[in-house]
Structure formats: structure tokens, C-alpha cells
Amino acid sequence: MTGGITSPGAGWRQADGGPATQRTGKKRRRGGGRGRGEVAMVDDVEFTSYYGRQIVKTPVWKSPDVPLYLFLGGAAGSSSILAAIADLTDRPKLTRVSRYTAGVGAILSVVALVHDLGRPERFLHMLRVLKPTSPLSVGTYILSPFSAAAGATAAVELLGWFPRLKRFGGVVSAIFGGPLATYTGVLLANTAVPSWHAAYKQLPYVFGASGMAAGGGISMIFVPVDEAGPARKMAVAGAAIELAVVHKVENDHGIVSEPFHEGRPGKLMQAAKTCTAAGAGLTVVAGRTRLGAIASGTLLAAGSLLTRFGVFEAGIASTKDPKYVVIPQRERLAAGTNEHASTITR
């Protein structure tokens, strides 16, 4: 007899003025179709929330620190790879610019990361443990050698000392460069943030590819066009992959893809895609001109940056409405496709 109690209905208001009941999907029969004693059905994805309150917490990560960190890591990581291969294939200008990009990016990454901590002076506590279950712990053990190597390489590049060591440092940073760019995807995905977690198989690719677009783009800006061929190719390939995977992120995950289309994050994603596509197109068309290279490189870098902000903010938005938590979970329970158990309630 206690089944299916309706939510507080007419005449009921709450402090924030929002609806106490989330109604999506099929419209409920007026007067409370569930008010008659049958057990609540979950096939229609309506549910009653707790005064419209969010369920998971909104990440306390600050913007722009964290999106910037994601961007810098990607750009620096891809640049370090580019630099190492350019060095091995003897492209000194490309090598130098990429090394500078990697080095500066690495140092700024560390700054951004430390700045985001609630207790920055305790940054070194990150090295207390090594936890494979924590992307941030693993990331610390990636970022630390990377930033040391990339920073040192850029420094000796600038000063012109120890050429041998320089190459070694460049290789070391290149080894960590890829993981640095892609782990940030895991960093976001390995959370309870609905729109991030759902895209856990895509985000590393998005961030890796986007990093290449950015790294390539930045090199294009500073490297003479005749030596920037690899940068252009990497940038265009990265942009293409990014656009393809972002499309999946934005459309493959049902309701939790929604935040990528709505509001500010939606605008950011749209702008990111536009910049990235335009940058890639312009690279193909006019990448060999100095002006074209600068323009397209800037667009690619901007696209990459906007992707990070877009993804970041879409995730933030997905925490603020309980429907992004409840509906996918309800659907999972109803479908019984859940790998672990048919139901959590017994």
C-alpha cells in the first residue's frame, strides 16, 4: 500500500523555485499515475529528486587552472614527441621550437597544477605514494620526469649547452609526452562526473589528438614553413581525429551527452570544433604560407584550448542536475545490462 508515493505536488513549492519533480520522457498522467499503489516503473525515465538538488558534488577544480593544465599538458606532450623525432631526423628549427613549447608547457603545467591545490605547499605529498588507481598519482609520476626532462632540454636548448644530454633529455620527455597528453583524459574520466565518466574510452583520444593539433599548431606559428611540414601533418591529423572522437563524445552517451550541446559548454564545444576545423582546413589550403601558417596554427591551438574548456565545463554542468546521475543509472537498472548486478536494492 505504500508503493509509488507521488511527489509533493500542487501547492508545493520549494525554496529555489525549481520543480521538485524532474519530468523527462513520457509525461506523467496528471494527478500522479504512481499514486495508486503500483510499484514505480522505471521504463519511463521520470523520477522524483530531492528538491532538485544535485547528487554528486561539483568538482572543486578551478577554471582556468585545470582546463589550462589539460591544454598545456597536451601541447607540451605532443611537442616533445615532435621535437624528439625532428631532432632525430635533423630538423633543428622544428626541434628547437617544439622543445621550447614542451619546456614552457611543462613548467606552466606544474604551475597550474600546484596552483589548483587547496594546500599548494603540500604539493610534494603527491610523491608520498604511487597509486595506479589514481590518475593524478600516475600523472604526477609522468609529469615530474617529463617536466624535469622537457624543462631541462628547453633550457639547454636555449643556452646551447650539452648537446648530447639535450638529445637524451628530449627522448626522455618524448617517452613521457604521449602519456602526459592522454592521461589527462583519464584524469577527468575517472570521476563520478556523469559527462566525463561516460566518455572514458574517448577522452584520452580526444585529449591526445587535440594535443597534437595544438602542438603542431604552435610549431607552425614559429617554425619556417619549409621545415614545418611534420608539424602541419601532425596538426591536421590530430585535428581530424579530435573532431571525429569529439563527435562520439557528444552523441554516443544518451542524456549525459546533453551538456556538451547546451549552454556555455555547448557554445565552447561549438567554437572549439569551428576553430579546429577551420584551422585544419586552412592548414591544408594555406599552411605553406607564413601568414596562413600563423593563422591556422593559432586557430588549431585555440580549438584545442576551447575543447578543454568545453569538456571541462560540460562535466561541471552534468553534476548540477540530478537527472544526469539518476536517469542513466535507472536505465541501467531497468535494462538489466549492468555488468555487476541486477539491482542494488533488495
Binding site: 610523491l127 608520498r128 605514494v129 604511487l130 597509486k131 595506479p132 588507481t133
Partner: protein
């Protein structure tokens, strides 16, 4: 060598690699602070048995004292009435004692005054005694309605029902002896 070993042992990563907690989730991750955690119930100088001052259920309380300060007040599981449980008010009763807004010195407002003034406790007691005698005299009735009443109508009192029995007793005794009859208590309310 020993120094290095000690240093290594204090590094959780080393403990992860050599101990039973490879993922650094539990034993290996314990900090110095955690190893020295101690409950302030365990370090209290004494535990005093008391009774909650709010409603009349009369829940037993255990009052922990350390360095002459109350460090914790919680339910007394020995009480057959409350069985160690407390409501939010009872649970907050430490704040009743330690409240930063609690006023612990005498305050005085003179006639037509616009603000409080400080006053010495002994002076205040003497001043109150003066006023009691004066009010008693002023309001004295030997006879009322033709009957002997030997009382004063110049002094009234209203007590809360968180007064101890002993306090109520002394109040009633003293007031009656001075002839005051308008003596009331929250119990009326």
C-alpha cells in the same frame, strides 16, 4: 645505513613495494598523525555524571573534563531512562557551557541608561540587597481586606524550570521569610 632504512620506512611508496599493501590504500598510507590518533575521551582527567538541562526526560550525561575544561558531553549509557542517547539539544549542551556569547560578568543598566556598564559582583550583591529591603518596605502590607497578611507586594520573582530543587527550595524559603508572595515559576506556564 640505519638512517636510510628509517627514512625509507617512512616513505609510503617503499612500504607499498615491500609490504602487504601494494596499492597504497591502507596500511602503507598511514601517516604519523594517524598513528598517534587518540580519543579525547581517553585523555580526559575525569568523567563526571550529570543530567541534561533541557527537557524533562532527564537523560543521563557523561561530562569529560580535561585541564578543568569540558571537552565532551555525551549520553550516559548507564541511565535506564535514556540508555545513553541524547537529542540534538542534549548533544549540543557542551556549547551551552562553552558558548562564546555567554555572559560571565555582571552587567548593570542604570535608570534611564542607554547602555550596559560593568559592575563588581560584590557591589552588585550589596546593591541588590539594598533594593530588596527598600522594595520590601515600600510594598509591605500588614493587613489586607481586614485580614492579617504580613507580606510585601513590592517584590516578585519568576524562575525557570531548570532550577535545581535545592535552589527552588532556598528561593521559596527566603522569599517567604522576607514576606514576598508573588513567587512564580515556569511550571505555571
Amino acid at each position: 645505513m640505519l638512517g636510510v632504512k628509517t627514512w625509507l620506512d617512512s616513505w609510503p611508496v617503499y612500504r607499498q613495494l615491500t609490504g602487504s599493501d601494494p596499492l597504497g590504500r591502507g596500511k602503507a598510507a598511514r601517516s604519523k598523525g594517524t598513528e598517534s590518533v587518540v580519543s579525547r575521551t581517553a585523555t580526559a582527567d575525569r568523567v563526571v555524571k550529570s543530567v541534561c538541562p533541557y527537557c524533562a526526560v532527564g537523560c543521563g550525561q557523561k561530562v569529560y573534563v580535561q585541564d578543568e575544561k569540558i571537552t565532551q558531553i555525551e549520553g550516559d549509557p548507564d541511565s535506564p531512562i535514556s540508555r545513553g542517547r541524547l537529542c540534538p539539544k542534549g548533544s549540543a549542551s557542551k556549547q551551552l557551557v562553552t558558548s562564546p556569547t555567554r555572559v560571565t560578568t555582571v552587567k548593570y543598566r542604570r535608570p534611564f541608561g542607554t547602555d550596559w556598564e560593568d559592575l563588581d559582583l560584590d557591589t552588585a550583591m550589596e546593591m541588590i540587597a539594598d533594593r530588596v529591603l527598600e522594595a520590601r518596605r515600600k510594598g509591605w502590607q500588614q493587613v489586607d481586606g481586614g485580614k492579617r497578611v504580613n507580606r510585601t507586594m513590592g517584590i516578585a520573582s519568576l524562575g525557570g524550570a531548570t532550577l535545581d530543587n535545592e535552589e527552588n527550595y532556598l528561593m521559596k524559603k527566603l522569599y517567604s521569610a522576607m514576606g514576598a508572595v508573588q513567587i512564580e515559576n515556569q511550571a505555571r506556564i
